[in-house]
């Protein structure tokens, strides 16, 4: 089980942070642009950003250190989560990290998407699961590991918000946060 990608999305589907954690990602520079197909990212994700200005659009959408395939899956998971929350299929229960834990929102190929919601933000992660297991104990410990991961990312996020230069409604550009998340992901992936 390994963490492939993480997205942090705000209340109105505005993405604050999207990142890949695959081994290829280490070879490329943090905020570089990955190879694209014919369709530019700007056109592909046009309506999610709702920005009229083309230049700004291109700049924002090409700035995610996350390849298109993962971005696509993250966005789809985000849609599912949104639907689930809107229809009230999930209610917070328990306390602490348990209360924010939503669980699996989507499955596709090898990837499972898990979500964790807090007051202003939703965290969506793509987990690559090689071995599917039905053993409830394994699933439970699996869930607990993920819950801890999300709780730690949440802590990093609150620390980031305490920086007076950080705006709660804008992209997360803090190097400290980025490095912290990469470190957590590496620990989780056992690297």
């Amino acid at each position: 089980m390994s963490l492939s990608a993480l997205a942090i999305v705000g209340r109105h589907r505005t993405p604050f942070y999207m990142r890949d954690f695959t081994i290829d990602a280490d070879n490329l520079s943090s905020f570089g642009i990955y190879g694209q197909g014919g369709l530019s990212e700007a056109e592909f994700f046009g309506d999610h950003f709702g920005i009229a200005d083309d230049e700004a659009l291109e700049k924002t959408s090409s700035a995610w250190p996350c390849n298109l395939h993962h971005q696509f899956l993250l966005q789809a998971a985000c849609d599912q989560l949104e639907e689930a929350l809107r229809e009230g299929r999930w209610r917070p229960n328990g306390s602490g990290a348990d209360a924010c834990w939503v669980g699996s929102v989507m499955t596709s190929d090898n990837y499972k998407a898990f979500a964790y919601v807090t007051t202003n933000v939703r965290y969506i992660s793509l987990i690559e699961d090689e071995i599917a297991s039905d053993n409830p104990q394994v699933l439970k410990s699996h869930d607990n590991d993920l819950k801890n991961l999300f709780a730690n990312i949440h802590r990093l996020y609150t620390d980031h918000l305490l920086n007076p230069f950080a705006s709660p409604n804008s992209k997360i550009t803090s190097k400290r946060f980025d490095l912290g998340v990469i470190h957590l992901a590496d620990k989780f992936n056992g690297r």
């Binding site: 305490l162 007076p164 230069f165």
Partner: protein, 202 residues
């Protein structure tokens, strides 16, 4: 030196008696102040100047409280600072300790004994702060911002009230990657006690 440990001890005693405030709230308040200034003035040099002015007005008021409390702690008017070295010790060991609870060191005295440095290991004002990277869209370069410039103003204001005109500058800043914060203080002149030109003896 006896005055050094005396100052440190007095500082500790003073800090124990002062009312305390929440450090996070303090840091967040200062952070909002700085970001508002940045929003208003845009130019980081101008923001530094404003922070210095704000610090100045704080220093001018703090020094009276300091001197009145210091009297009780045994460093009163009878034990005056004989030279700049003593002044430096008092500012760092008692002043910073009393108001902020942090341990500051002095050092780097110049040849002519007119300059010194104050070293701060941790800076309560800059908890959680991370200076934003250069804005690629051509925004102002916040690397020129001296986030803790308030301290410079405070020292300048406080020392001016005791007739020492000084210039203060932040030369090393942990927010910019240095290991500690260093404030360089230079004595410009010792002002004479006077009522000013407007007042003329009959």
């Amino acid at each position: 030196m006896s005055s050094k440990s005396q100052a440190a001890q007095a500082g500790q005693a003073l800090w124990a008696k002062m009312p305390k405030a929440n450090a996070e709230l303090f840091a967040l308040t200062y952070g909002s102040l700085v970001t508002e200034l940045v929003r208003d003035y845009e130019d980081p040099i101008e923001v530094n100047a404003q922070l210095d002015r704000i610090g100045y007005s704080i220093g001018v008021r703090c020094v009276d409280e300091f001197l009145s409390k210091a009297d009780v702690a045994g460093m009163g008017l009878t034990t005056q600072c004989q030279n700049l070295r003593d002044t430096a010790e008092v500012v760092a060991k008692m002043g910073f300790k009393m108001f902020l609870g942090i341990q500051a060191e002095v050092g780097a005295f110049s040849q002519d004994q007119r300059c010194f440095s104050i070293y701060l290991q941790d800076n309560p004002l800059s908890t959680f702060v991370e200076l934003p990277e250069d804005d690629p869209s051509g925004g102002e370069d916040l690397r020129r911002l001296k986030y803790s410039n308030l301290y410079c103003g405070v020292i300048r204001g406080a020392l001016e009230q005791v007739n020492l005109k000084v210039d203060c500058n932040i030369v090393r800043d942990t927010l910019k990657g240095d290991e500690l914060n260093e404030i360089r203080v230079e004595l410009k002149e010792v002002l004479a006690d006077g009522a000013g030109d407007d007042y003329k003896e009959e």
